[in-house]
């Protein structure tokens, strides 16, 4: 890979070039100044590029070559479920009858879309064991906040205004406490025990009549199933709190255990993880929320209803928390997730989970002799290694992650969860073959050997990427967040 910079598209501009094709104006021209008044007519053009269509395609093709996706190679990024993104999903989402319909069209003209949404909700209800599902939230964190707002509405409807606290484990995703704050709650942290699970004694200590909810990821971010889940549910429910399921790790338990059966009251799913809506370089996602019957009145409105005359949106929901998003959610991602579920069927989804867990345990066992394994027990879809052995030799987990880039891999999630020193969180997913896992394991073992024999090669990694490690301090200290056209004097 050559190491030259790819110029910014703005630096390729040449006055007079165009990359678009608009129709000739077929109605009489108007005088903008006369119509809008001088002040409203934009004086200076926005400094956007002036390039040809081929320039554009070459530019973005060059950029794409400087980017690693699941289709480029193995991507064992823990907690992110970087599985294969099926191509049929992409085709179906682009069907004109899905892509080019307006959310405010008369309902009779979009019955196919509403049918798909309804059937997806039905499928998600069965998969999670919940009573009702909304597709409105745009992503996982958005779903978390939506769920917490519903819990808040539930308590307030019961005249319970003193439930100000949301409990999250110390191993929780950062979005959990952040969502609690946005929903107006205070966060209380519950500790993990020496087995990597929620410490029940500590939980009993922190719950009380001010507890609104406990947010849990199960399996947790260490990839471990919270075995005491029923007891936790009982502790929370006994004090009148609600149990919230962060669905980030659902890939580990499909057809094995449903949140609804574990005692959870609210669930969010990340359709862009478990259900293959692609990650898109950071989004868009989709974060449907499922609830038990007692929370149904508080669902965001509108809700989708099936009647004898067809599907309709019901806005008459007096106890609803309101809208969390314009329109009905990220429909395009929901189409992809639906296509995936219909492709896999019940036996397929079961195998997904079984192979995701098999792959993770296989990797964990093969890597365990070479790195520290803080929690030595069967994992679910992911596991966390510690690089503390290597750190003693002067090589940090960050260095090993960077060294993996030289082997063509995306590294694992590092330094998370926070309760593992020099953590490396590895999630292979079920779509990877044994050969791919073996090759990655070999690379990890080689790196562990390099740490002992030739640490510099790891400390100075990566060596083969288009750019070396970047100066992040400089980026934060003097932020340059946009391109500025040089003035003539420069």
């Amino acid at each position: 890979m050559h190491k030259d910079n790819q110029p910014l598209i703005f630096e390729m501009t040449k006055q007079g070039r165009v990359g678009y094709s608009l129709p000739e104006l077929d109605v009489p021209e108007v005088d903008l100044t006369e119509l809008l008044g001088q002040e409203l007519v934009r004086e200076e053009f926005a400094e956007l590029p002036e390039v040809s269509e081929l320039d554009i395609m070459r530019h973005y093709t060059a950029l794409s070559k400087r980017n690693h996706g699941v289709d480029s190679g193995f991507y064992p990024l823990g907690s992110c479920t970087m599985k294969y993104n099926p191509k049929i999903n992409e085709s179906v989402a682009r069907y004109s009858g899905f892509a080019n319909i307006h959310p405010l069209q008369e309902e009779s003209t979009v019955q196919g879309a509403m049918e798909l949404m309804y059937d997806l909700q039905e499928h998600l209800k069965e998969i999670t064991g919940m009573d009702e599902v909304t597709l409105q939230p745009a992503a996982g964190a958005h779903g978390e906040w939506t769920g917490l707002m519903m819990i808040r509405a539930f308590h307030e409807a019961n005249g319970d205004f003193n439930r100000t606290k949301v409990i999250v484990p110390d191993s929780a995703h950062g979005t959990n406490p952040a969502s609690a704050t946005v929903a107006g709650f205070e966060t209380v942290t519950v500790k993990s025990n020496e087995h990597g699970l929620v410490d029940l004694e500590d939980l009993k200590r922190v719950v009380g009549d001010d507890t609104a909810a406990l947010m849990l990821t199960n399996p947790n971010t260490l990839g471990l199933f919270e075995e005491d889940i029923l007891e936790m549910a009982s502790i929370i429910h006994k004090v009148g709190g609600k149990l919230y399921y962060d669905g980030a790790n659902l890939n580990a338990v499909m057809s094995k255990a449903r949140p609804g059966d574990m005692g959870f009251d609210v669930v969010h799913l990340n359709l862009h993880k478990t259900f293959t809506g692609p990650h898109g370089g950071g989004g868009p996602g989709s974060g449907p929320v499922g609830v038990q019957a007692d929370l149904i009145p508080y669902l965001p409105k509108p809700i989708l209803v099936k009647t004898d005359e067809g599907y309709t949106f019901d806005y008459d929901r007096p106890e609803s928390i309101g809208r969390v998003k314009p329109f009905y959610g990220n429909f395009g991602i929901n189409v992809r997730a639906y296509t995936y579920i219909r492709t896999m069927g019940p036996d397929g989804l079961k195998k997904v989970t079984e192979y995701a867990v098999l792959n993770a345990n296989y990797m964990m066992r093969r890597l365990a002799p070479h790195f520290d394994l803080p929690y030595d027990r069967h994992c679910k879809h992911e596991f966390v290694l510690s690089g503390r052995r290597q750190k003693k030799l002067g090589v940090r987990t960050l260095d090993m992650a960077k060294r993996l880039l030289d082997f063509g891999y995306h590294p694992p999630t590092i330094y998370f969860p926070l309760n593992v020193e020099e953590g490396m969180m590895i999630e292979p997913t079920e779509t990877e073959s044994k050969e791919t896992l073996d090759d990655f394991i070999d690379a990890m073992i080689q790196i562990a050997r390099e740490v002992e024999e030739n640490p510099e090669i790891v400390q100075n990694a990566p060596h083969t990427t288009v750019i070396n490690r970047l100066d992040e301090t400089k980026a934060a200290r003097k932020p340059v967040l946009r391109y500025q056209k040089p003035t003539d004097s420069e």
Binding site: I101, E126, H142, G283, F327, L349, Y355, E432
Partner: protein, 455 residues
């Protein structure tokens, strides 16, 4: 049954179980308590082959009336615009769409640079100092602007114009509920924010004033007059803006907006039944460290090469947890890429040309409606929408238009009690003179017929 996404063979399975030291896959799930263990398989539809499924879903899609087969005059926040074909070719490159958030910059320079370019384009169009890497949509971006303003000013009241998109206002209210912030609506006057009322309502508790430009009715708000009122009260000025309109209109940044938000859907992003679209969030330099979501910044490596990284992450949930500026994690990166490609294709001249075409064609529609004797609800400058008084049922008219291959406008009575029998008509550059003429002719015929049957 074998699945094409699952490469495991029975031999692989056997070998791997042996390495792990267990007899069966079931053993790996022995930590799930018996009481909560799910037995058997989900009661969901059985798997379908690729061909059978595409056939079924194509038929389902075929039940929907799309804006390719029908001439659409429906806007109200989501528009049928020119989508350069190149956009889909770029975002279909799987190095982009199968990547995660670019947390490893050495192998994510493509995505990071593309976002840096997006941030620049949005900042340019809005006239703001900086823009973030995207938000879910225009509605949640507006709500986040309210949160930012409340945090920054330590005030607990948001004034939002009734000429802001009704669904965006709904979202602002839901977010505000969580933060115990009051949301008060500024009334309308002739289809625009009532500035006299604003003067009366604004006070020392007001965190921000929110207006939309062009507003929900397609009217162009007088930002110049509003800005000093907001700033004199010590509040932040938030403008929600269709970025495509800013090809021709003076940008909010020039009028002193502190925060400009909106949705980049008009740039190359399909309507997709309301999502995913692409929120944007732009601010002045002063508010840089308060911005929600991801920011990409420029820096260098040890050999002095330019590169890009996610920066100022201390604002974000994965670092700051409950003290973060927002809980947003996933954003709309791929759609930000789509919008970037569309903005690049249109470029410096095309963004103006397309905006002017919208204004011109809407003006033509307005004249034709007036010629046929229709009353335009709000006069003045329009961008690509106009509200027309029909005096008859919008729903019935839309049914009649549908028969003629057209998707009619938005029924304003659904969101504004005082505007029963009014239709909000969108005219983009996609509508030809012929289609506009046919549309006017049809609604004219419909209204005459309705009147005749009532006579």
């Amino acid at each position: 049954m074998k699945h094409r996404y699952l490469p495991m063979t029975s031999q692989d399975e056997k070998d791997m179980l042996e390495t792990i030291g267990v007899q069966s896959i079931d053993e790996l799930f022995s930590d799930i308590p018996e009481k909560v263990r799910f037995k058997g398989e989900y009661n969901i539809k059985p798997a379908k082959s690729e061909s059978a499924l595409t056939k079924e879903l194509a038929q389902l899609a075929g039940k929907n009336a799309d804006s390719v087969r029908y001439a659409s005059f429906l806007g109200a926040g989501v528009y049928d615009h020119y989508k350069p074909i190149i956009v889909d070719h770029v975002i279909s490159r799987s190095e982009f769409y199968t990547a995660y958030t670019p947390y490893q910059p050495e192998i994510s320079q493509g995505e990071l640079q593309a976002i840096f370019e997006f941030q620049t384009m949005i900042a340019e169009l809005t006239g703001m100092d900086i823009a973030n890497s995207s938000m879910y949509d225009g509605g949640t971006a507006l709500a986040e602007a309210g949160m930012l303003a409340a945090g920054q000013t330590r005030r607990k009241k948001i004034l939002v114009s009734r000429a802001v998109h009704p669904e965006s206002r709904d979202v602002v209210r839901t977010y505000a509920l969580g933060q115990s912030i009051d949301v008060v609506e500024i009334p309308l006057k002739d289809g625009r924010t009532d500035i006299d009322a604003l003067k009366e309502m604004i006070d020392e508790n007001t965190a921000t004033v929110m207006v939309q430009y062009p507003n929900f009715f397609g009217q162009v708000e007088n930002l110049k007059e509003i800005e000093p009122i907001v700033h004199e009260a010590g509040a932040l000025f938030t403008v929600s803006s269709n970025p495509l309109a800013l090809g021709a209109l003076t940008p909010p940044g020039k009028f002193g907006a502190d925060i400009t938000v909106g949705d980049a859907q008009p740039f190359g992003i399909p309507e997709a039944f309301g999502g995913p679209h692409c929120g944007y969030f732009a601010v002045t330099q002063k508010l840089m460290r308060e911005v929600p979501g991801r920011l990409v910044g420029e820096t260098t490596d040890d050999e002095g090469r330019r590169g890009f990284v996610l920066t100022l992450q201390a604002r974000e949930q994965h670092i700051r947890r409950d003290k973060a500026t927002s809980n947003i994690c996933s954003n709309q990166a791929l759609n930000a890429l789509a919008a970037s490609v569309a903005m690049t294709a249109l470029g410096k001249e095309g963004t103006k040309e397309i905006a002017v075409q919208n204004i011109t064609k809407t003006h033509y529609m307005k004249q034709q409606l007036k010629k046929s004797g229709f009353e335009i609800a709000f006069d003045g400058a329009h961008f690509n929408e106009i509200a027309v008084k029909l005096g008859s049922s919008v729903k019935e008219l839309n049914a009649a238009l549908f028969e003629k291959g057209m998707i009619g406008g938005y029924d304003l009575g659904l969101s504004y009690d005082e505007l029963q029998g009014h239709m909000l008509i969108a005219v983009t550059e996609q509508r030809s003179k012929e289609e506009i003429d046919a549309f006017v002719q049809e609604i004219d015929a419909f209204v005459r017929e309705t009147e005749a049957s009532h006579a």
